[in-house]
């Protein structure tokens, strides 16, 4: 395994872990079926891109986009995260406040389809279908992005982000706030009868998830240097849902596991499929198509056989909890 491959794997893993943790906060913990998740990663990527790139007249002016402020690291990444959070506000205000659960899911799904279509058609905004290219990664003006040291640097930048996101998510999930979120997920009406404001909690987590999702986009775009509508079609959200379902809902370990098994694992496994199988050369697009079929099967399979995922939501036992046997002993005494 060469180091470029390892670095790519690690960066992709980091991005996917961050995205899955965000989706898990929204879906697994809080019960928000955010079928539009990918647009938050997308807005983060676009924001980071237009913040870090030169004005669009540069490089011969072959692309047209807004912004172009050439800001240094870490501003584009912060900007990406903020963009994700900002996008969550109007979307959340409409969808989360007013709609019932299944309508929310559908509206969000359709939103991500429409958003993709609009960005594709509105060329001067973000260069339409062609997307944005030559996005400079952090410190790419000081270290040549094609070198091994840059790869190392990028992994070194991604890792703390993963740790930070994991820390934030852990603190949320394992706190009384996390407990209230899970209660709201289990029975929203009962939670509000106990004084919890479900709309406020959902908006909050929607924005937090948007921020984290935006960050994942910023990290990704700095590495792959391009970003186009084809990168964020609505099925991308479904992969992340598959990851969260497979890995295990409502816990960060499950989210990490899911990220490693599904988006990362899948890519790697299919890479191992040989170019020819017993003399037959599969058509070039067969593998990706079969990947999607497998994702679908994975979702259906897990929902049928193991809906709680590989690592289920942990049961919270408090210190001093009576041991079951102990109590029985007391009764018979």
């Amino acid at each position: 395994m060469n180091s470029y491959y390892a670095a790519t794997l690690l960066v992709y893993a980091g991005v996917d872990i961050i995205a899955c943790i965000a989706l898990n906060l929204q879906f697994g913990i809080s019960g928000i079926v955010n079928f539009s998740f990918i647009i938050f990663q997308a807005v983060g990527a676009y924001a980071a891109a237009v913040l870090s790139m030169p004005p669009d007249t540069a490089n011969g002016g072959y692309q047209v986009y807004v912004g172009g402020f050439q800001l240094p690291f870490p501003l584009p990444w912060i900007g990406g995260a903020l963009a994700g959070g900002l996008l969550a506000i109007p979307v959340g205000l409409v969808v989360l406040r007013k709609l019932r659960t299944d309508y929310q899911a559908i509206a969000l799904l359709v939103l991500s389809v429409i958003a993709n279509s609009v960005i594709t058609n509105a060329r001067p905004f973000l260069n339409g279908a062609a997307g944005i290219a030559q996005v400079p990664g952090p410190f790419s003006d000081q270290i040549d992005p094609l070198t091994q040291s840059y790869q190392l640097l990028y992994v070194g930048l991604t890792l703390p982000c993963v740790l930070l996101v994991w820390l934030v998510a852990s603190r949320i999930v394992n706190s009384p706030y996390g407990r209230s979120l899970r209660a709201m997920r289990d029975h929203e009406v009962a939670a509000s009868a106990l004084g919890k404001n479900p709309v406020r909690m959902k908006m909050t987590i929607f924005i937090v998830g948007g921020i984290i999702g935006g960050l994942s986009g910023a990290i990704l775009v700095g590495y792959i240097a391009v970003w186009a509508p084809s990168e964020w079609l609505y099925p991308e959200t479904i992969i992340l849902f598959a990851a969260v379902i497979v890995g295990g809902r409502a816990n960060n370990v499950g989210a990490i596991l899911g990220a490693l098994l599904v988006p990362v694992g899948f890519e790697e496994v299919t890479r191992l499929i040989p170019g020819t199988i017993a003399g037959w050369v599969p058509p070039p697009n067969l593998i990706p198509a079969m990947q999607w079929v497998a994702i679908g099967l994975l979702i259906i399979g897990f929902l049928w056989f193991r809906p709680q995922g590989v690592r289920p939501e942990p049961r919270r036992v408090f210190e001093g909890s009576p041991d079951a046997e102990e109590v029985d002993r007391v009764r018979t005494a």
Partner: protein, 294 residues
Amino acid sequence: MDLYVAALGFGLISVSVIAIAAVGFTMQFGITNMINLSYGEVMMVSGYAAFYVNQAGVNIWVALIPGALVGAVLSFLLNRFLYAPFQRKGTNHIGMVIVSLAASLMIANLMLPIVGYYTSSYVVDQGPLLRANGLVLTTAQIAIIAVAVILMLAIHGLLRYTRLGKAMRATAANPTLARNCGIPTQRVIDVVWLITGALCGVAGVVAGMNSENFSVSSGAAYLIPIIAAAVLGGAGQPYGAMIGALIIGIVTELSAAAIAPEYKEVVAFGMLVLVMVLRPQGLLAKRGAMAAAG
């Protein structure tokens, strides 16, 4: 002004296509409580079935029949072997939505290696132009509208005047009560999926006729105006879906003329959100299944 009259003409055809599809979609929800997000993909598959028959030299109008058949069978199998088992298992509403989404992904991607990535088109003889009051439509387009009208009347007749229709309405209103009254709800549901599947199939072929070309990715695109029409009319209400289709079809075509054709879907989406926010129960509110959902 001519532009708008022409748009109105296109609107009528749009209405026809959406109506056929939306009635089937909404009946699936109304009677089996299933938001079938694979509906668009089944339309696409049926469209391709008709395509191959068309390529073999059969007139596209005759090809409506294999299209309907494929739609019926595929929808029936989808429910029998995927949706119903999950529902029996007690999967919640959102779980079912995720299942149907996964199924749509699988169907689309199984079709890709078979039919390829390129777009396809039907061989349709448009026939002579017909003009009335500034409206200009080809005979083929008029025929599409006629098909829609016939099917709407057929559904109306089915629901209102046949025993099966009554059984369907009873099952939709209260499945347990219906079963206790001796209605074979399981068989009714099977028939519902066959009939709505046939509608889905016809809609897929007609949608293909109405566009210059279609491809595997058309499936997802079809779904947006269909959902919009169904929600606008009131989820589970076939007559509502007809009205919803009327409104969505006309408004999207008029706005396409006013703004730009690429933003047709955006308008449909905007209307969908507006309805969901302002009047979630739709124009013709329905008791029972609607209240249970969410």
